[in-house]
Each structure stands twice: as C-alpha cells, then as structure tokens.
C-alpha cells in the first residue's frame, strides 16, 4: 500500500525541517511553484570555492514536497558544484530512498527542480 511513503522520516522532517531558513548574502537564489496546487519552494545557496557551504529553503506545501526538499539539502551540502550538477532526478530519488508514489513525483521533485535552477543561475554568473 502506497501510504508507506509517509514514513516516520517524512512526517518528522515535515514537522521539523532541519534546513529551513535563509542564508546570509546568498550567491544563488531560486524559487518555483507547482502550478496545480500553488505550492512553492525557495532555495538560497552560499558557495565557497564552488563548494556548497550553506543551503537553506523556505516554502509552503505538502509533506512530500517540503520534506523531500529538506532531505535534498542534506545530500548536497558540502558537495562541490560539479558533483551536484550531475545528480539526476533518478539518482536523487534513489538516494532519498522513499518509495514516492508516481502520483506524488511532482511534489517530491519540486525542491530538486528549484535546486537545479539555483545552480544554473550560479553557473550563469
């Protein structure tokens, strides 16, 4: 039954996200919406020699979109731009390891999409 997606970890992260907030003098900021529901995620990143020194998010949305964004931050923090640039949707989902229902992929990937937007804007500089 696909309610197993709502694992302890997801509910816990949804209630008490670890990486929520803003970053001082961010080098990259990006925001996007899920148009069908109006959910949004904004991500701010501070780099240090192309290494992600700090990354934070703010947003409104369901347990899936918010907690998966929070988990994504754990994954990319302290990593270098190159490494994170190569992370695909599939790799991200695999690493997070939650059996997201296909119905909820858009939710699960909202933060990932915004993260990529932020990277592009940084690299574009």
């Amino acid at each position: 039954m696909s309610l197993e997606m709502y694992q302890e970890q997801i509910i816990e992260r949804y209630r008490n996200p670890v990486n929520i907030g803003t970053v001082e003098n961010p080098d990259a900021t990006a925001k996007d919406y899920n148009p069908s529901c109006g959910d949004d995620v904004e991500i701010q990143i501070k780099f240090d020699n192309d290494v992600i020194r700090d990354i934070k998010f703010q947003g409104h949305g369901c347990a899936i979109s918010q907690s998966s964004t929070d988990l994504l931050m754990d994954l990319v923090k302290k990593k270098n731009v190159k490494e994170t640039q190569n992370i695909t949707k599939e790799m991200f989902l695999e690493k997070v390891g939650i059996p997201f229902s296909p119905l909820r992929l858009k939710c699960a990937l909202l933060g990932f999409k915004v993260f990529k937007l932020a990277l592009y804007s940084y690299l574009g500089k």
Binding site: Y6, I11, R15, G38, C62, A63, I64, L103, R104, C107
Partner: protein, 406 residues
C-alpha cells in the same frame, strides 16, 4: 429523485480505485458524464458528422441542425430572449476573455474601474488584469467571515467610473450563492455592464438570465454532465451586435477582401473556424438529463448531502472549515483543512480509499489568502453522489489524522 437509478447512468461509478469503489467528490472541478451524453457523442460521429454551415449535403445539414438546435436548447435552459444570444465557447475562461478582449479592451479607458469580488475564480480575475495596462483599475468587494459578500459595501465601492461589475454566482470554494439580481440592479442603476460567472451555478440550480438581468453569463459544459471543451457565453443581443469579434478567421465573416472583411452576424461572428458540434449535442443531451431530474431537485438533494457531511465533519477534531455555516450557505461545496496537514496529503490519503477530492489553491488564491490559507481540501457533491459515500470520505479523514499522528 432516484439516486440509485441516476448512479446507474454514470458508467465511471463502476470504476475501482485502489480496489475500492470510486467515490467522486470533485464535481465542482469537472462532472462525470451519463451514458446518455456519451452515447450522443458516439451517435454523432457514427452517423451525422460533418462541418456545419459550409455546404449543401445531408450530413452537413444534419450537423448544422444539431449544432443550432443545441444553441436553442441552451437558450431555453437559461431563459434567454433569443437563441442568437448564445455563443458557444470552449469554457468559462474563454467566455470571460471574449468579454475582456472584445468588450473591455475596446470600450474602457484610463481611469475606468472594474468591480470584482474577493471570492472570484482566477477565470474572473486574470482576464481583467490585462485592462490595467490601459490604466483601468480593479476593485474587489470583500466578504464576511461566513463567506457571504459584504453587500452593504457595494454602494460605496461603485463609482461613476465603474464600467463593469463582474461577480461569481456561486463560489467554487465557499459554495456561497451571491445575490446577483440585487448586485445587477446596483450595477445597472450605475450604468455599469453586469457580468456573471455561472460556472458553479448553472450546473446546480435554475438560472434565469431574464430574471437576473445580467448582460453576460459564462459557464462550462464539462461541469454539468456535458463533454469537455464546450461552454457558453450568453450575451444580450444588442451588446453582442455592437461588439468587435474576438477570434478572427473563417466562418465568422460574410465576405473577405485582402485587406478588409465583413463580419458575420452574432453569435457566429464570435465562433471562428470549425465549431464543436460534438460538444453542442453533448451539452444539449446533458441539459435534457438535468431537466429530467429537475434542477430544484438537484440543489435540494445537494443540500441534504451537505447537511449530512457537515454534521459528520463537526464530529472530527482538527477539521477546520474555510468558512463555517450551514448547508444552506454551503450548497454542496465543503472546503476544509486538517490542522497541520497539507491538502495534498489529505487528498492523497483519501485516494487510498477511492475518494476523489480537490486539493490545492482552488484557482482562487486571493480568496484563500483572505482566509489565511495557501491551500485547502474540497469535497463537492452532485446528483450522483450517495449518502454512504460521505461515510467513506469521513473514514478516510480519520486515517489522515492517524498517518499524521494527530
């Protein structure tokens, strides 16, 4: 009203979702279709399909008759004076765009005002925003906490510059039915054009344009048992006649020269290109179905379902209605939240029970903000919903609370 018999007419209700029978509580978004409508589409394509108005052969004549008779059916359904007051469109959104582009963009000027309400669907907000680049100002009538419009503020908000008043007849979030006849009188006394968004009213209750005395009424077929992509813009003949066309091209003309054209008569001047005969016959059949059951019966039945549902919901701790109020105020539409749980999660967990409800911003972000929400869950009822389906819905809500440890 024989609900069991009605349910038998809707083939999709036999569908299983996650091994449970489908409980469709999202009719305010789009309605399901009875076999009669599906068969009418099939019969049209299997026996009568042609491009109407264009030639002289039997199929073409049949298609034309089907199309124009459907226009007559719609006309009678909303009690228009003339069939030519019915423009077939794709949906309510397009209907509003016709008024915004063809009427407002050509007639309003800097300093003019358009009066809307805070409870409008995006379809009745975003088209008007376009007018701002001409220096037109949008104003929004506020609502009370029970979801009713602040009627007493209208006289203060309407000014000699108010050229258009456009109001939703029945809110898709609150279920509130606005006093459109009264608002229309204020608008007309002020010399303003009066537009009504009937997307949620026309499918669920008797609507009479002569009685309301609106200048335009917009609604969508897909919310009233008809196929997708057929909708209606009703407009008073004398206004439609004076209006510029919207889409330009074939069929909306009488004569085309290289650099100028003579427009066709309305309503055809607003229907460029090959029209949707399938949609028209589908809508006609849907109207027959609704009339057969009786619009009064439908709204009465929806009220009963709402009453039952509100009673049940009141018993679940943590459930918060967007606007409180009894079944008479909510009219088959119940928007709510469960503290700390996002509407998407509610909808998703309900889906495990076969229950389909809407979640998200309801295409009414300003209204949601007014109540301090970013998203809500909504259950909405229609003639084919059974009382027992509400029990399943409630069962699902209990599960939501469990998953989120409430």
């Amino acid at each position: 009203m024989d609900v069991e018999k009605i349910r038998g007419d809707f083939p999709i209700l036999k569908r299983k979702i996650n091994n449970k029978p489908l409980v469709f509580l999202d009719s305010a978004s789009t309605s399901q279709k009875p076999q009669q409508v599906i068969d009418a589409i099939k019969n049209y394509y299997e026996n009568h399909n042609a491009n109407p108005h264009r030639s002289i052969y039997t199929l073409c004549d049949e298609a034309t008759q089907i199309y124009e008779k459907s226009r007559g059916k719609v006309s009678k359904f909303i009690n228009a004076k003339k069939d030519e007051e019915i423009v077939f469109v794709r949906n309510t959104n397009e209907a509003m765009n016709i008024v915004a582009y063809s009427y407002a963009m050509n007639n309003l000027k800097e300093g003019d005002e358009i009066l809307l309400t805070i409870m409008e669907h995006h379809a009745n907000i975003v088209p008007w925003q376009m007018l701002q680049k001409k220096g037109v100002k949008l104003k929004f009538i506020d609502i009370n906490d029970d979801g009713t419009l602040k009627m007493d503020t209208i006289n203060d908000m309407i000014t000699k510059n108010t050229k258009i008043v456009s109001v939703v007849h029945k809110s898709n979030v609150l279920g509130t039915i606005n006093h459109v006849k009264e608002i229309g009188k204020i608008a007309h006394d002020n010399g303003s054009l009066f537009v009504v968004d009937g997307a949620q009213s026309v499918p669920h209750m008797p609507v009479d344009v002569k009685d309301i005395d609106c200048d335009f009424l917009a609604f969508s077929g897909h919310k009233m048992l008809a196929p997708m992509n057929i909708g209606v813009l009703y407009g008073k003949k004398e206004i439609l006649e004076k209006m510029e066309p919207f889409m330009r091209g074939s069929d909306m003309i009488k004569e085309v020269q290289l650099t100028e054209s003579v427009w066709n008569d309305s309503p055809w001047k607003f229907e460029a290109g090959t029209p949707n005969v399938e949609g028209a016959i589908g809508l006609s059949e849907a109207i027959d179905y609704l009339k057969g059951v009786g619009l009064d019966n439908i709204s009465g039945y929806e009220e009963k379902l709402t009453e039952y549902a509100l009673e049940k919901l009141n018993g679940i701790s943590g459930v918060k209605l967007v606007s409180p109020g009894n079944a008479k105020l909510r009219n088959g539409v119940i928007s709510f939240n469960i503290g700390g749980v996002h509407s998407h999660d509610i909808a998703y967990i309900l889906d495990e029970f076969g229950v389909a409800i809407r979640s998200g911003h309801m295409c009414a972000q300003p209204l949601l903000r007014r109540f301090g929400f970013q998203s809500v869950a909504r259950a909405s009822f229609y003639l084919y919903n059974a009382k027992e389906e509400i029990d399943t819905f409630v069962e699902g809500l209990e599960k939501v609370k469990k998953v989120f440890g409430k």
